[in-house]
Structures are given as structure tokens and as C-alpha cells.
Symmetry: C2
DNA sequence: ATCATTGATTTCTCTAGAGAAGTCCCGCAC
DNA sequence: GTGCGGGACTTCTCTAGAGAAATCAATGAT
């Protein structure tokens, strides 16, 4: 709308941040290297501590650096630790024993309103898509190589899965869908919505996310024969660990 | 690794941020509403200006609020403005005239090394996947409803597309692939990698991103018959505007 | 009515200083 | 060698203050 941005002189903290960023992106400072700290910047540029902090804060919430209290600020290059195909997501991982779930809140029934009050991310989808008054919720946290990388919540129509834990046991991945198949509701089609956003505080702790790390949020709806939705799956993934991969034909 | 987090008392700025966040997430403060500013927080809690700023900064880089200099700090709920299926991405949009590209750097040939020096996000892919010494680059920026929402760079093997602009004219979406088809290299398979990260400074300006907005980065490789890669497409999307949608069968 | 100016309000940048809390390493006791 | 203090260093939290820069509404001139 307005005219081209007149280039006011950048503030000091930003110029310092730019210099540091250049050093990171050019490779002069590598992953895990230590950045000049508050004191170093104060001396080098003759600035106040708050200003030095501000410069470092820029890099920190760009996700290029991580502060470690009492120690220093370190370069953190964005390097995904593992790649997952979105569909065959964990099968090989599970087979190799690399992936585990380290917490599994057993499912129980909630009314759609209860879910909404719990402020599930999926709340709107669950009611609308699943078209059920009562849903069955199953929460998990997945870890790979000891690091938590994914939170998941699955919602099933309660009338479909009466019996809960017995019907949908913890038999690893695929187990749930296999059971749904035995009940005559095998999923045959999936629709996924992928978003990126900043994590909320709870997610920051559960996924152990350093500052400046966004999360990938995937909502997957599974449909059985006839177009009936049988599951809504909300996944929150550490974006530093995950790369989603999709393959499809023209 | 270490034992469970002892719950020290949260610092003041964080408690204030938590209170404000609750008001936002509970709906007491809606999209576009004005948050209490620095002065208001100073008076209300009896804290220094820097501390009040720190509280607001938490919400700002969580992406829940946007500061407007000289005016105030406003709630910004994460509400995608438009949804795209990843494949039929823009076809309807273009037909309705809602989408445009407002900059189109005509392609020219670069060596793979040149591309690497330009530090394209896709640099590594381009050399490896395309298996070409020289590539043809095409850059675009897409806007929807006057807002820039997507940066894109396409890489083609140079020996495939000699003649550049004539061979791959700006005929809107599909045009490029149609032309590739006429040349006998119609893409029949796509593979996409989806990442989320924080934007780099250039992207912040080009996409006009408010603080705290992550970007979705999609790398799409198009394969022709026989498994030959004919295009690498690097897309950077404003995550506040985009929701990617993928549909596939079991 | 339209346009320019002024003034109050608000965020932004920066200084100076101080104590708390966590990390890291060296040296000492065992 | 092993473990335990202690001290140096670093980031974190917070205070107090001041000028710059942008916004917004009201006021006044044309």
C-alpha cells in the first residue's frame, strides 16, 4: 500500500544480529558453536547489556541459536534428525525399535462438548467431521532415539469402538486400523491438513522445544468405505525433527 | 535427562503473559482486539517498562499478538485466509482472478554451483535430484487478495528447456507442465517434502510477515515417465495464510 | 468540505546497574 | 582416581529513566 520502504538506518541490535546471522549462514559458525555472549558484545560494540541481549534474542527466536543459561548461546542449525513418510510413518521405525510411545493416556469417552472445553486443537473437526455426540479419545507421545518428537490425539466415534482398550489395544502402529478393519470400518481414504504455527506452552514442555522452534500440526481424517469418517487424528510435530513427505501421481 | 522439572515460581513477566494468553485462548479477547499496552501493564502490576515489554514479547513471538508502533498491541488469531489442495493448488484461484504473481524473475541458466552460492533453499536438491550441471531458474511471488503469500523458485534441467521464456511462457498455472508435456517430459509423479521453520529476514520482508509467523517450506520434485526428475520446485508459504491439504487412499 | 498541523499516546531503542540462578572447571580432600 | 567445594563466568530477571519514531484524533486554516 504505502511506498517503498525507505531505508532508515537499522538499529544497532539489528545490525549486530545481521552480522552474527551472516556468520552462521555462511558457515563460519557451525552447528553447536558458541556465539559471542552478552559480555563479549558489550565490550566489542560498547553497548549496554540489554542491547546485547536484544541482538541475541533476534537469532534465538529465528531459531538459529539456543541460549543455555550459565553457559552461553550456541548455534543451532536446523537439521531434521529423521525423515518420515507421512503414511508409512512409523512402521519401519517401530520394527527397528527406534520409536516408542512413552506416554499413552488410555482412551475414554468424552462428549463433543467436553472435548471442546478441553480445548483440543481438533475440537471443531471432531464434532463436525465425525458427526458423533460422543467420542473416544486416545493420547500418545512418541519418542525417537529418546527424544520426544510428536504428540498425537485420536478421536473415534464412541459408538464405533465400544469396549475401548480391549477393542483398540496397544499393538503398535497399524494395530488400531487393523482393529477397525475387523469391526468392518477399515479406513480406505485419508485427508490431511498441514499447518505450521508456534507452539503453545504445554507443547513446548512436552516436546522439549528450544525457543524459536515452530511445530507442524497435521489433522488427518480417515474415511471408511462409503465415505464415513472413522477417525480424526491430531498430530503436533517438532518441526526441527520432522520432514513430512507426500508422494502422489499426476 | 535430568530429573523432573522442579516448579520454581515463574517470573513476573511470564505470569503476566500467561494471563493474557488465557484471555486470548478463552475468547475473552478476540482477533484484532487491543491488548493492554506497556503503560497499562506498568500501572496495573507496578513493574518497569522493560518488564512489561518482556511480557508482551512472549505473546508476540508466540504469534498470538502483533505490535503496532504508535498504536498498541493487538490480538492476532491464527486464521488461514485460504485453503489449497496441494495439487490443484491454484487452478480455481487463477480462474477467479484471485491469485496473481506480482513478480516474475524470468528464468535464466545457472550452473549448479551458482545456485549453491546464491544459497537457494533447494540448492542441495537441485544438484543431486536433477542431476544436471546447469539449471534454469524461475522465480515468482504469488499474491492472493493483494497479500503476498508465497515465494516460489522452480529449477529445470537446462538441457531440457533450451529457449527459456519461449518454451515455458507465463501462461498461468499448468502452463509450464503443459509445455513440458509437449516436449515429451510431462510430469507423472510428484514427491513433496514439507517443513516448517522460522523465516529468514528476506522472506520476512517479501511475504510481509508479522513477528512470530513461521513459514511452511515445500520442496516438490516432479518426475516424468521413467523416473526422470524434470523439476524441483521450492515454495515458501506464509503459514498464517496457508493450510496444505493432501488426499490419498490407503 | 478538505487539507495541514499540532499534541497526546504508544511502541521502539538504548543506557546503567544489580542480584539471582545455572554451568563449568579447577583444585583439594579422600 | 573419585568426589566435593568453591570461584569464575554466563545468562536471566528486574529496576529507572530518556529520547526517537510512528499513530491517531482533534484543531485550525483554506
Amino acid at each position: 500500500m504505502t511506498e517503498s520502504p525507505v531505508h532508515h538506518e537499522s538499529p544497532i541490535y539489528r545490525r549486530i544480529a545481521d552480522r552474527l546471522r551472516d556468520q552462521i549462514l555462511s558457515g563460519a559458525l557451525g552447528d553447536g558453536d558458541r556465539l559471542p555472549g552478552e559480555n563479549a558484545l558489550m565490550n566489542e560494540y560498547g553497548i549496554a547489556r540489554a542491547t546485547a541481549r536484544q541482538a541475541l534474542a533476534v537469532l534465538i527466536n529465528e531459531g538459529l541459536a539456543v541460549p543455555k543459561r550459565g553457559s552461553g548461546v550456541y548455534v543451532r542449525l536446523f537439521r531434521p534428525i529423521r525423515r518420515h513418510g507421512s503414511r508409512r510413518l512409523s512402521r519401519e521405525q517401530w520394527a527397528q525399535g527406534l520409536a516408542i510411545w512413552d506416554s499413552d493416556t488410555r482412551g475414554r469417552s468424552y462428549t463433543v462438548d467436553e472435548v471442546r472445553i478441553l480445548r483440543e486443537t481438533a475440537s471443531e473437526h471432531v464434532g463436525r467431521v465425525l458427526g458423533a455426540e460422543e467420542v473416544w479419545v486416545r493420547r500418545r507421545r512418541y519418542s525417537v532415539d529418546g527424544r520426544p518428537v510428536q504428540l498425537a490425539a485420536s478421536f473415534f466415534p464412541a459408538d464405533l469402538v465400544e469396549g475401548t482398550a480391549v477393542v483398540l489395544p496397544d499393538t503398535g502402529p497399524g494395530g488400531v486400523y487393523a482393529r477397525l478393519g475387523e469391526l468392518g470400518h477399515a479406513p480406505v481414504h485419508f485427508s490431511e491438513e498441514v499447518r505450521a504455527r508456534m507452539p503453545l506452552p504445554g507443547e513446548t514442555e512436552l516436546l522439549n522445544l528450544p525457543a524459536g522452534t515452530p511445530v507442524i500440526s497435521v489433522t488427518r481424517v480417515a474415511f471408511a468405505e462409503g465415505g464415513v469418517a472413522v477417525e480424526v487424528n491430531e498430530m503436533t510435530l517438532d518441526a526441527a525433527s520432522y520432514v513430512l513427505q507426500y508422494d502422489f501421481d499426476a
